[in-house]
Amino acid sequence: MVDPILSVRDLQKHYGAICVTNHVSLDVMPGEIHAVIGPNGAGKTTLIHQITGHLAPDGGSLVYDGQNITHLPMQRRARMGLVRTFQITSIVGSLTVLDNVALAVQSISQDPLNLWANAYQDKALNDQALVYLDQVGLSERHSLEARHLSHGEKRALEIAMALALKPKLLLLDEPMAGMGHDESLRLLSLFQQFKGQIAMLLVEHDMDAVFTLADRVSVLVDGEMIACATPALVRQDPRVRAAYLGDGDV
């Protein structure tokens, strides 16, 4: 039996009287794409925030790659390969596209905070960064200031930055949100390309994407995990249909 790369146990989070994460347990296996779906306000992003360390849970535990990470700060988790993308695109707009990715490469390099050598002319960093930009199809835009990219390109840049951190587990918070059809398709094929190599926890509204990509789907409703199964089984689960998918033709 292979150990899960991430195992969430009995996670709890309250905002006052409202319970946003209600005893949630979940396993992500190495190489697996695990989707989390649920209606708006179900607590999906809150769950992601707790896994990345952005929010501290009120109870429960997180074990990542054999280590208890429940109380580790965000930057430590990131350097261990637990990497996220943001629902609202998050890049450094005043730096170039290349520099954004070079920052990620720099983070896991030997000397991430060197005070003296010129970082912008560091060939080793820039060459590696270009490889990742190439993977997401942005290498031609490398010298542009990142804030001038289109929305879809910014998303792609974020993915390149995430990949540059050599993730073991990628947390993708609605990566397709606001993307055009073609861009979505390109992203989809990119994720498919990494399927089996990098485990992914995918929060997504685009049901086509979820059912194409995911090995397993967990359904979160009002902070509670009501189902976790293969896409085919989840589609048929009457509770899921009632709570989320509606009774229409899914």
Binding site: T52, H54, P73, M74, Q75, R76, A78, R79, V83, R84, F86, S90, I91, V92, G93, S94, L95, D99, L103, A104, Q106, S107, I108, D111, P112, L113, N114, L115, W116, A117, N118, A119, Y120, D122, M161, L165
Partner: protein
Amino acid sequence: MMPAAGAAQAHPMQGPAIFMGCVLALVPLASMLTGQSHWVPLCTQIMIFALAALSLDLVLGIGGLVSFGHAAFIGIGAYTTGILIKEGWGETLFCLPLSMLVCACFAYVTGLVALKTRGVTFIMITLAFSQMIYFAAQSLYRYGGDDGLTLPKRATVLGQAFLGNKITFYYLTLLCLLLCLFTVMRIVRSRFGRVLMGARDNEIRMTALGFDVFRVRLKAYVISGMIAGLSGFLLANQTEFVSPAFASWQRSGDLIFMVILGGVGSLWGAVAGAFAFLLMEEVLSGLTENWKVIFGPMIIFFVLFTQGGLARWIALFHKGRGQGHG
């Protein structure tokens, strides 16, 4: 080199810095030829404040941390030096490192608290720490209290009174300024500087990339405090006097003005801003007693109409010329 048009740049321009260095190197000669002997001490003093403004620009311009208490470091550096000279320990090779070390410690301890906060809270907390230094200096009765402390002499270098010579002291100050300017420029272009600047624009992003933003900022704050401490050492020696006013909040405010005038984050702009600010003050105060009535509105108009400061003007000029050639 990539010419950047924005005010806060990942690639601070070297050209203006070199140009300023050359002009400043000629000031003593010009002063001798024209007989304007007050130019040398005036420019020395301005360069000392330029050094403090430069140190502020590292945390304010590059790090995005609006420190409203940077004069505290000038005060600490000056008092450490002043007290040591008064007590007969006035050897530069001892005084100077110790002044900077005390500033580093103060920056580290206050930074541990202040850098946990953001925005207005950070402004207020740095102000509060600097006021503590101001009142602590006032209560040093042995060293003049309110009235300040007049130094018996300047610090010696290997027992020699080198610093007593106006011209020597001028060039020493210029050397310190240029060394610090090029050091800070290097830091800004380094991996460390890139993270510091990235965190100014997007702190969560830098944390999610695995950087410990708090530690990076703390280090920058300590480096900045040490440079301001150096300016305190020079100021105490130049004026042969230290007073609590060195650490007053008005002084901290002046430093922020200098940085804004010059162009936030442009580094050499902080130096140009110090010159613009203090020369205007010098000229206006020579014209009328109520010079602040003119000075205040002038500063406001200047800031309003030159967003990005002097550095932006030069960058735009530079860019326009570059396009003309291409």
